[in-house]
């Protein structure tokens, strides 16, 4: 049997609420510590306790860490999903299962490894009876470790991190890992080809989830006010603010330079955030689809009244509860025109955990410079899973507060200023904020027609002038938002366009297209709307541009078509939104289905 080293996927099937996430994160982190590129995806149901849940880990020596649809190693701990788990093992794979599950083993083409979970756990008197099920998960960690060569020292380091150095739980769990590994060494001869061997591919990297990165990035952005309402998968972003604020904004006098409010609903959350932004604070809220829908009216007001606020949308699927634990990229067209009437939203599209950090602080610069709401579209896959990441980088510019006039500024202007006056020709006016004590500084903010001095008016020509200036401001925004990133190669016959967290899957698909199908593709990952010039430059180069995204209707492709009508015939959609984290397989198959061989190569 040929060894398969550092190139396989594991999936663990357990019961939701059984505490397997500690075990799964431990496996993930231990593999990372061995220097092997790795990813972990939590495929969990919308349920607090009892339903089947899965965790998939992919180790890949070449750094291709997008989720795979095939799994070589399957660990089955849940009788409710046992048959399904057994059927899912790739041919030639390995099947580990809790041996108290008495269901038929119907596969002859996989290595079968029964695990005496209950027996090992009961064999340790140090485990209290109400902890047995929880610690029982460590049995599969230990047995797997022994079978594939996972370094126990790295497992210890992972447990140490998870339990924050608290010796008692570390020891209780690690003892079970060791005992299980010992048992497997003696009783479980290896019958499969899969091995993990140390590498150095993760040196200098960290592991983090996108929501934590977003929160910490926002704090480095000087965020002062956050209002939120709980919703999966965004809750952990606001909760991370609560965790990290006391550490990162600690003062000698113990006083606070920030406030986090849990509002009564998303209408109040966005209202509070906008109020705070209006009164001069770096202000944010975070939510997902259903909450975002509630925020629509306020978003339109903030656009029109030109109030800076940052809104994180960690995208999931469906209205109401929808599929709240599934990922998507399906809010793009909604956010783009969010608000009744003519609206054009500024949107940031992070594609990695480090970009969640970076856009966390950059979004405030963009919002305050443009005096506009900025929507940052993340997704459940990026927000809630642990990803390998470059370390977070300290912001490379000072905080950009935009055009704000304080008391002495108004004095210098002798009171001569206009809230909606396009003084500089870029569409961005100057603003004042409450607390300014100059008697000429105040103005009345509202959604009604207003002239350059914020005076109420119903005059049509004034309305038109203001709307045109808002459009001009949107054009200006092209130079304020992050440029796309692109990966190009010689001889590319097709341009692939995508956004957000699908990059890993797309790059792997492109690699496969090249090595297995002889198709060379360039890839551009768009990181913001309005589209910077680089987007136009990119798509003009190809006879076919395939837009890859996780939604049904090809939303980015629609927006590109409207923006670049001359390219409409060349833009094709590879859109698929089943809620699962992207795999290279669907990207590749989607591209192949739409790809046209250039004439001269037929």
């Amino acid at each position: 049997m040929d060894k398969v080293v550092n190139d396989f996927s594991i999936i663990v099937g357990t019961k939701n609420g059984s505490g397997s996430s500690t075990a799964n994160n431990t496996l993930l982190r231990a593999i990372f510590k061995m220097g092997i590129p790795v990813s972990g995806k939590n495929l969990f149901p919308s349920n607090i306790q009892g339903l089947p849940t899965w965790y998939t880990i992919r180790a890949n020596k070449d750094g291709f860490t997008a989720r795979r649809e095939e799994n070589e190693i399957v660990i089955a701990m849940n009788p409710d999903s046992f048959a399904r788990d057994l059927a899912s093992v790739a041919p030639g794979g390995a099947f580990f299962y809790a041996d108290d599950i008495k269901q038929p083993i119907t596969r002859a083409d996989v290595a079968i490894y029964p695990m005496p979970v209950k027996q090992i756990v009961r064999g340790d008197p140090g485990i209290p009876s109400d902890f047995r099920d929880l610690v029982g998960n460590m049995v599969y960690v230990g047995i797997l470790a022994q079978t594939v060569g996972l370094d126990l020292e790295k497992i210890y380091a992972a447990l140490n991190f998870h339990f924050k150095g608290k010796q008692k739980p570390i020891d209780m769990n690690f003892n079970t890992v060791k005992a299980s590994a010992e048992w497997a060494k003696v009783n479980l001869p290896k019958k499969d080809p899969f091995f993990l061997e140390p590498m150095d591919k993760t040196d200098g990297l960290i592991m983090a989830d996108g929501n934590t990165a977003a929160a910490v990035g926002s704090i480095f952005g000087g965020v002062q006010f956050a209002a939120w309402y709980p919703i999966t998968p965004a809750s952990s972003l606001a909760e991370s603010l609560n965790d990290y604020f006391p550490l990162l904004r600690k003062r000698e006098d113990g006083k606070h330079t920030y406030a986090v409010l849990q509002a009564e609903d998303e209408l109040a959350a966005i209202g509070m955030a906008i109020g705070a932004g209006w009164s001069g604070l770096r202000s944010m809220t975070s939510t997902s689809g259903p909450g975002l829908s509630l925020m629509t009216e306020f978003a339109g007001l903030a656009y029109y009244a030109e109030i800076p606020v940052v809104v994180w949308d960690v995208q999931r699927i469906g209205p109401s509860t929808g599929l709240p634990t599934r990922t998507s990229q399906a809010d793009l067209t909604f956010v783009n025109s969010m608000g009744h009437g003519d609206t054009q939203s500024v949107i940031l599209l992070p594609g990695s955990v480090e970009e969640c950090f970076e856009f966390g602080w950059r979004a405030f610069d963009v919002a305050e410079q443009l005096q506009a709401p900025v929507f940052v579209l993340s997704d459940l896959d990026m927000g809630m899973n642990q990803w390998m990441s470059k370390p977070f980088q300290y912001p490379d510019t000072s905080m950009q507060r935009g055009k704000v006039l304080w008391d002495k500024d108004i004095e210098e202007l002798k009171g001569n200023w206009g809230r909606y006056l396009d003084k500089d020709g870029d569409g961005i006016p100057y603003r004042t904020v409450p607390g300014n004590k100059h008697p000429m500084s105040s103005y009345f903010t509202r959604g009604t027609g207003h002239d350059e001095n914020a005076r109420y008016t119903e005059d049509s020509s004034v309305w038109l002038r203001n709307m045109d200036r808002l459009r001009k401001k949107y054009e200006t925004a092209r130079t304020y938002v992050p440029a796309p990133v692109s990966y190009t190669k010689l001889g590319a016959t097709v341009g692939i366009v995508g956004y957000g967290s699908t990059e890993a899957a797309i790059l792997e698909a492109i690699h496969q297209l090249d090595t297995e199908h002889g198709i060379k593709a360039d890839f551009m990952r768009i990181r913001a709307l309005p589209f910077p010039q680089e987007v136009a430059d990119f798509i003009q180069q190809y006879d076919q541009i395939l837009v890859v995204e996780q939604n049904r209707d090809g939303q980015l492709k629609q927006l590109l078509t409207v923006e670049y009508p001359d390219q409409a015939a060349n833009l094709k959609s590879v859109a698929f939104g089943d809620g699962m984290p992207a795999s290279a397989k669907w990207v590749r198959e989607g591209i192949l289905a739409k790809y046209k061989q250039p004439a001269e190569q037929r």
Binding site: R249, A259, A268, I274, W278, G280, L281, P439, M440
Partner: protein
């Protein structure tokens, strides 16, 4: 940016803040002549002047509705945010974190607060946000605008106008059961009481709810043409032309109400409100008594007027947050962005 209004006549008096009454005014009202809200706006101007308030230390807030337009008609020198229907409380809550030394002055209506805004109203009350929250309430005893208001009394059959089928909302009761720290009610035509209560509300640290019954002069609402036509026919008034707004005089109490007095006041549509001023010995710090008075008033179809409840020991919202003394919106990068060394610390906290 806001032009100081021209002053007519000779040297004006100034208050202790060195400001003239004109410094507290706003734009001319575009509300109907005789509207109760205009009287309230005048009392706000007078109260602020007499209390020596500096206008730049106030932020005005409003929702949407006739009452919500009124902040333009007072305190031009103050910043103002006229926001969304029913959503002003959230705007005010967030705004007042920008500079916690400023006081909010909010004007809302019965629809803005008790219909669409009921949720946000309850929560701004329980958070005890530091602002005066005035409801200019013209929906009591219903049909003053052609639609039933949430505050309209059930079963009340107005002359030839049909009956309201739903139970009423008592804004003062709603505030009280949500643990408001200041609850009062008055009547727009009782200018002296209105001004006194505005002053009391301004002095209160926390949310001061002031429900002001503020009669509407317009009944020929285009959304309810049947009602207005039928009513007009029966009363032989020139109301067949439903866009015609007859000039009306504001309803003013000729004589001030005494403590404990019950008085019936006729409104322009013929309906009657019954006001009952609180008794001489009434103790507004007794919450149980306040609940009793409001329940009794509901039973008797009265509207209790006066300072119904006050509790001064609860912190206002920003006080709970232990903020630095410097207003948050004056803080600079050194206070807000963690030092460069902290990035290594953060990375070390990740795996």
């Amino acid at each position: 940016m806001t032009q100081p209004l021209p002053m007519a006549g000779a040297a004006a008096n100034v208050n202790l803040a060195g400001l003239a009454k004109n410094d507290y005014r706003g734009n001319p009202s575009t509300l109907c002549q005789g509207c109760g809200h205009n009287s309230n706006s005048n009392q706000i101007v007078s109260a602020m002047y007499e209390m020596n308030v500096v206008p730049e230390n106030i932020i005005k807030f409003s929702g949407i509705g006739c009452s919500s337009k009124s902040p333009t008609y007072f305190l031009n020198r103050s910043f103002g945010f006229n926001s969304l229907h029913g959503r002003m409380p959230s705007i005010a809550t967030g705004s007042l974190f920008g500079d916690h030394t400023l006081k909010g002055l909010a004007v809302s209506g019965d629809g803005d607060t008790a219909s669409i805004g009921m949720g946000q109203f309850k929560h701004v009350v329980r958070r005890n946000v530091n602002m005066v929250y005035i409801i200019e309430n013209n929906g009591v005893y219903g049909l003053t605008k052609g639609q039933f208001s949430a505050t309209a009394e059930r079963g009340l059959s107005l002359k030839k106008q049909g009956a309201n089928q739903y139970m009423p909302v008592d804004i003062c009761m709603e505030a009280l059961v949500s643990n408001a720290t200041f609850v009062a009610r008055s009547f727009a035509g009782n200018a002296k009481q209105v001004k006194e209560l505005i002053k009391a509300a301004m002095s209160h640290n926390g949310l001061a709810v002031l429900d002001i019954i503020s009669p509407c002069v317009t009944f020929n609402n285009q959304e309810n043409a049947y009602h207005s036509y039928a009513w007009g026919k029966d009363h032989e008034e020139p109301l067949h032309e439903i866009s015609y707004i007859a000039p009306r005089n504001e309803i003013i109490l000729e004589e001030e109400m005494k403590e404990g007095e019950i008085r019936e006041v006729s409104l322009h549509d013929g309906s009657v409100v019954v006001l009952k001023n609180l008794d001489k010995d009434y103790n507004p710090t007794d919450r149980f008594e306040a609940l009793r008075v409001l329940a009794e008033a509901q039973q008797n179809n009265w509207l209790a007027t006066g300072l119904i409840y006050i509790e001064t020991s609860k912190p206002s919202l920003t006080e709970i947050y232990n903020l630095v003394e410097t207003p948050l919106n004056r803080l600079e990068e050194a206070d807000l962005r963690p030092a460069p060394a902290m990035i290594d610390k953060v990375n070390a906290l990740m795996f």
